[in-house]
């Protein structure tokens, strides 16, 4: 379900792992390649389920996206020294757990700019360190942990599949419009065109 917040902006509802929903602007969401691939052209009926990530993490991620809406197109990693004060504050105010959650969510949503800045920040932690010093910084996983990680990856893949299925379901609904009664079809088409118009006018 999309809800126009203003005449020039489309808002989407995002659902977190707690089942809570919140609004994110289409402009911010378009920074997510995952969203673009699944929902941009067909829209979404109901909240978009990013239920592998909690509300705080998703809000943090989309806070970054909202902030960088007007920045020029992403063109590769930026050196940390070139980050704006806002960017630095954004990263500095996160604790390690939140930082990791943000990387994971950003990676899933395929937000190139945010993922890349996070990764550059991690590489910076290892800069100028020899192997022993790196081992102190990074936690080397045990065999059990590696196995558990594989299971998590599988679970994530299943979640991604679920999201894709939801998108496909929405697409299917769009394709079967002609089966609807004429009046309902007119109304649905009108809604869709309005949404597209609002979406374009925002670009």
């Amino acid at each position: 379900m999309t809800s126009p917040a203003s005449s020039s902006e489309v808002k989407y509802l995002i659902e977190s792992s707690e089942g809570n929903t919140f609004d994110v602007s289409g402009a911010a969401l378009r920074q997510s390649n995952t969203f673009n691939a699944m929902f941009l052209n067909i829209g979404a009926d109901g909240p978009i389920p990013f239920t592998d990530y909690n509300e705080a993490t998703l809000k943090k991620v989309f806070e970054y996206c909202e902030h960088s809406v007007n920045e020029e197109n992403y063109s590769g990693p930026k050196h940390q020294d070139d980050l704006s004060k806002w960017d630095l504050n954004f990263f500095n105010e996160m604790d390690q757990k939140m930082f990791i959650d943000v990387i994971n969510a950003s990676n899933f949503l395929d937000i190139e700019r945010l993922t890349s800045y996070c990764c550059e920040r991690i590489a910076r932690m290892l800069r100028g360190k020899n192997t022993q010093e790196m081992i102190k910084v990074i936690t080397l996983p045990t065999a059990e942990e590696l196995e558990a990680k594989q299971k998590v990856e599988e679970k994530k893949a299943a979640a991604a599949k679920k999201v894709a299925e939801k998108a496909a379901e929405t697409a299917e609904k769009t394709e079967t419009l002609e089966e609807l009664p004429v009046q309902q079809l007119v109304q649905t088409t009108r809604n869709k065109l309005t949404r597209k118009y609002l979406s374009f006018s925002n670009e």
Binding site: F99, N107, A123, G128, N130, Q132, I138, K149
Partner: protein
């Protein structure tokens, strides 16, 4: 956010991005941390080349591309001495990138030099050690031990540098058969008659002399050379010697030779008439430019004009005499 960071639990794409943000010195250090880190780096298919392994007082490794990196392996006190000594377990390793003063130091890293080389060979799909460099009069390290350290990595070239002695060079050639390139620029190797057995090797590239290192070369030794691509820096090669050399070539000597460059330091004026005396040649017009590709290094050479000489087997070689600002050079290339 500075310790216990679960780096390897990041999603694969993010982990790869982190590694791509690191420089190569750090990437090598990172890959030594565990099998998982090593495999992760390998999967990125990063490239380095060429790789030099230098034996001096200590063993050094350096890589030129994508950026210059140097690793120095220092022995502990118990490994000090004149040698030949076995290749030691490093007590200290330093890593430096480019010309920076910033040095990354490893104290008692617990990794042998062999493990270091194996790791670099493994994580960067590298064809081998491009150049094994010898700098001391006598190699400080026992050659068998050096071979073990290099392991299965293929050595492509020798670089006899600085004060490398003839015996050291000969021993290296005996221990590492199958080397295709040899560069001699050691002050202790200017007397080429002392290592005719090396001159006779079927090499792809043989460079004798560079800069201040000017080789002594007798005519008979010139005929012994059996490499494809030859460069000799010498004052001893006279016009008459070149003339005789070409006459021997016509009759079948130096059968593998495809490109020769003779450099004459010290303001030598070449006499074309003396060089060509008694030869049956065809002079190519000066505005005729032919492109020759060196057989081993694949470097292109523009041949403008020159003198074409036909061999008894029908192949044609072009002689080009270059006289530029008092410096003389002779180029001879054989067209296939």
């Amino acid at each position: 956010m500075s310790s216990d960071f679960p780096l390897l639990r990041l999603p694969e794409k993010a982990l790869n991005l982190v590694i791509q943000c690191m420089d190569y010195i750090e990437i090598v250090g990172f890959s030594l941390a565990s099998n998982k880190t090593k495999e992760t780096v390998k999967s990125l298919n990063l490239q380095v080349s060429p790789l030099f392994l230098t034996t001096e007082e200590i063993i050094k490794v350096h890589v030129q591309r994508p950026s210059r990196m140097f690793w120095n392996f220092y022995p502990g006190g118990e490994n000090a001495g004149n040698g030949p000594i076995p290749v030691y377990m490093p007590a200290r390793v330093t890593a430096r990138r480019g010309l920076t003063r910033e040095i990354l130091e490893y104290l008692n890293p617990g990794y042998s030099i062999q493990k270091w080389i194996d790791t670099v060979q493994y994580i960067f799909p590298h064809p081998g050690i491009n150049c094994l460099v010898f700098k001391r009069d006598r190699c400080k390290f026992d050659m068998n031990s050096l071979m073990e350290t290099i392991g299965t990595a293929k050595v492509n070239a020798f670089f006899f540098d600085d004060r490398c002695g003839v015996d050291c060079a000969k021993m290296a050639v005996r221990q590492f058969p199958g080397i295709s390139r040899m560069y001699a620029r050691s002050q202790n190797m200017v007397e080429t008659s002392l290592y005719t057995d090396i001159l006779m090797q079927n090499l792809d590239v043989l460079f004798l002399g560079e800069g201040d290192v000017i080789m002594r070369m007798e005519f008979d030794n010139l005929l012994l050379i059996n490499s494809k691509e030859i460069k000799i820096r010498s004052r001893d090669i006279t016009d008459k010697m070149i003339n005789q050399f070409l006459k021997h070539w016509i009759r079948g000597s130096n059968p593998r030779m495809e490109f020769t460059l003779l450099l004459f330091p010290g303001g030598r004026i070449l006499d074309a008439n003396a060089i060509l005396r008694g030869l049956n040649f065809r002079e190519a017009p000066l505005d005729q430019v032919r492109l020759f590709t060196k057989p081993a290094t694949q470097e292109p050479v523009e041949i403008m004009g020159g003198y074409d000489i036909r061999r008894v087997n029908g192949s044609v070689g072009t002689l080009k005499i270059v006289q530029d600002d008092g410096r003389g050079a002779v180029i001879f290339c054989v067209w296939n």
